[in-house]
C-alpha cells in the first residue's frame, strides 16, 4: 500500500497519539467499574479521570516505562528501524507533555535518571503465518503498547514448576503470590499469566496476556476456563480497590499456554494496575 506520508511518520504519529491517550484517558471498562464503586477514595478516583481528561494531565504520576510488542508482516520495509521511530515517539511525547521520566541508565550503581524515559522495551515478532504467505490482503503492522508502572511491575514473577504439576498446584502458587503482594499493585488488578515456553517466552507471553487482542504467534493456546476460575478466586481474596478491602480485587485474568520442554513448566505472572494502560495501533501495509 502506498501512503502520502512515509510509513515511519504514520507510525510515529499514531504511536504518539496513543501514548497520550493511554496516559490521560481512563480505560472505558475501568470507568464503569469505578462508577459502581463507593468505598474508600471512590470520590477521588472518579474525579481523577475527569480532571486528567479536562486538564490533559496524566492519570498517574508514574507514567511508566513503555513497552512495545510489534507484529510485523513478513518482508515489511520501513524507512528506518522501528526502534528508532518508537524511541523518538516516547522521547518526544514524554518531554513535551511532562510525563515522568522514570528510567535510570545504570540499574545497580549510579541509577542516574535518563531524563527522557528511554529506552522503551521492544519485542518484535515477524508474522509469517499461512494467511501472510498466501496473499497480501491481510498485511497489517500491529504495535501493541503497554505503559507499565513500577509499582505493579515489582509483582512480576516467574516460577519454574515441576512438569508434573497440576492446575490446582499452579493456581495455588499464583493465588499465594497475589494474596501477598496484590495490595501494592493498585488494585483492582489485571493479571496476565503464561504457562509453558521457556523462561523468557513465558514472561513475554504473560505481558501479551494483559491485552485483550489475539497475538499472531503460532502454537499459542488460550486457557479460558482456568482464566475464569482464577478471576473468581482472586476476587475472593477481598483485596479490594486500592487494597482497602472493598470493591473488586481483580478486573481481568487471561491465561495463555505455549509448548514447552519435557522437563519444564514455566509459569509467568504479569500484573497491571487498575489503570490498565494498554492499547494498540494497527496500520495496513
Amino acid at each position: 500500500m502506498k501512503y502520502l506520508k512515509s510509513l515511519k511518520n504514520i507510525v510515529y504519529e499514531l504511536v504518539s497519539e496513543k501514548l497520550i491517550e493511554l496516559n490521560t484517558i481512563l480505560n472505558k471498562e475501568v470507568e464503569v467499574l469505578l462508577k459502581n464503586y463507593d468505598g474508600p477514595f471512590s470520590k477521588e478516583l472518579k474525579e481523577n479521570s475527569e480532571i486528567a481528561k479536562e486538564k490533559k494531565l496524566p492519570l498517574c504520576q508514574d507514567t511508566g516505562i513503555v513497552e512495545f510488542f510489534v507484529f510485523k508482516p513478513f518482508n515489511l520495509e520501513l524507512e528506518e528501524s522501528i526502534q528508532k521511530t518508537l524511541f523518538k515517539a516516547v522521547k518526544d511525547v514524554y518531554e513535551k507533555h511532562g510525563y515522568r521520566k522514570s528510567t535510570v541508565i545504570d540499574p545497580l550503581y549510579s541509577r542516574r535518571n535518563m531524563l527522557n524515559n528511554l529506552p522503551a522495551i521492544i519485542h518484535e515478532f515477524e508474522i509469517a503465518d499461512e494467511r501472510e504467505l498466501k496473499g497480501i490482503e491481510d498485511r497489517k503492522l500491529e504495535i501493541w503498547i503497554l505503559v507499565k508502572g513500577g509499582g505493579s511491575e515489582n509483582l512480576s514473577a516467574l516460577f519454574m514448576m515441576p512438569p508434573s504439576s497440576d492446575e490446582k498446584l499452579i493456581s495455588t502458587v499464583i493465588l499465594e503470590h497475589i494474596k501477598k503482594h496484590g495490595p501494592n499493585a493498585c488494585p483492582p488488578i489485571n493479571v496476565g499469566i503464561a504457562i509453558g515456553g521457556t523462561a523468557d517466552m513465558a514472561v513475554t507471553l504473560s505481558r501479551l496476556a494483559l491485552f485483550e487482542y489475539e497475538p499472531r504467534i503460532s502454537y499459542l493456546q488460550e486457557y479460558n476456563e482456568l482464566s475464569e476460575k482464577l478471576f473468581i478466586e482472586i476476587n475472593q481474596l477481598k483485596i479490594g480497590v486500592q487494597g482497602l478491602g472493598q470493591g473488586p480485587s481483580c478486573r481481568k485474568v487471561r491465561v495463555l499456554g505455549y509448548p514447552t520442554h519435557i522437563a519444564t513448566l514455566p509459569v509467568a505472572i504479569s500484573i497491571d494496575c487498575y489503570l490498565s494502560r494498554v492499547g494498540r495501533v494497527i496500520i495496513d501495509v
Binding site: N48, L59, G151, P183, N184, C186
Partner: protein, 168 residues
C-alpha cells in the same frame, strides 16, 4: 468522617485510628528510594543532614511536572521499610504512601508512635489540585527522586496503621 488536622505534636496524630479517613492540610516532605539512600550516605560522610527531618511527615512519592502543575501520587511504601527505623529515629512523625508494610515496619511505627497513612494511588491528576506550593529541598539532580517540600490542602488520607500498630 472527614477531619482536618495539622502538623502538631504526636499526641494529636495518635488520636487517629486505623481505617479513619482524614483530610490533611499542611506541609509534607516528599522523598522516595534514592533520596533515602543518599540521605544516609551524606550523613555518614559529613555527619550532618541537608534537611530537617524532625517534626516532618514523609510522603513517599516521585512527582512529575505536566502543563505547569506538579502531578504527584504515592509510591509503594514497602520499599522504604528498610529505611523506616532510620527516618523515625530522626524525628519523622508520620509517613504516607501506598500499600501494606512489613512486620518490621509495623513494629517501628508502634515503637515511635508514628501513624502510617495511605493516599489514593493512580490518582495524580486529582492530587495535583490539592497542592498549593512546592519547592525542591535537596538532591535536585535526582529528578523525580529529589526531595521536595510541598504544601497541601485537604489532602485525602486513610490511616492504614495507627500509633498502636493496629492495621486496617
Amino acid at each position: 468522617m472527614f477531619d482536618t488536622f495539622r502538623i502538631e505534636p504526636n499526641v494529636e496524630l495518635c488520636e487517629l485510628r486505623a481505617g479513619q479517613e482524614v483530610k490533611f492540610t499542611g506541609k509534607l516532605l516528599v522523598m522516595r528510594d534514592a533520596a533515602h539512600k543518599r540521605l544516609i550516605e551524606v550523613e555518614k560522610q559529613t555527619g550532618t543532614l541537608p534537611i530537617i527531618l524532625e517534626g516532618q511527615i514523609i510522603f513517599y512519592a516521585g512527582p512529575t511536572f505536566s502543563n505547569g502543575k506538579m502531578v504527584i501520587g504515592p509510591t509503594t511504601s514497602k520499599r522504604m521499610d528498610g529505611f523506616l527505623e532510620y527516618t523515625l529515629s530522626k524525628g519523622i512523625i508520620a509517613t504516607i504512601g501506598k500499600g501494606v508494610r512489613t512486620q518490621e515496619a509495623i513494629e517501628a511505627i508502634k515503637k515511635h508512635r508514628t501513624p502510617y497513612f495511605v493516599a489514593p494511588s493512580g490518582c495524580a491528576a486529582y492530587l495535583s489540585e490539592r497542592i498549593k506550593d512546592w519547592r525542591i529541598a535537596a538532591f535536585e539532580d535526582l529528578g523525580p527522586e529529589a526531595i521536595y517540600e510541598i504544601s497541601v490542602e485537604d489532602f485525602p488520607l486513610i490511616v492504614l496503621i495507627d500509633c498502636n500498630g493496629n492495621s486496617l
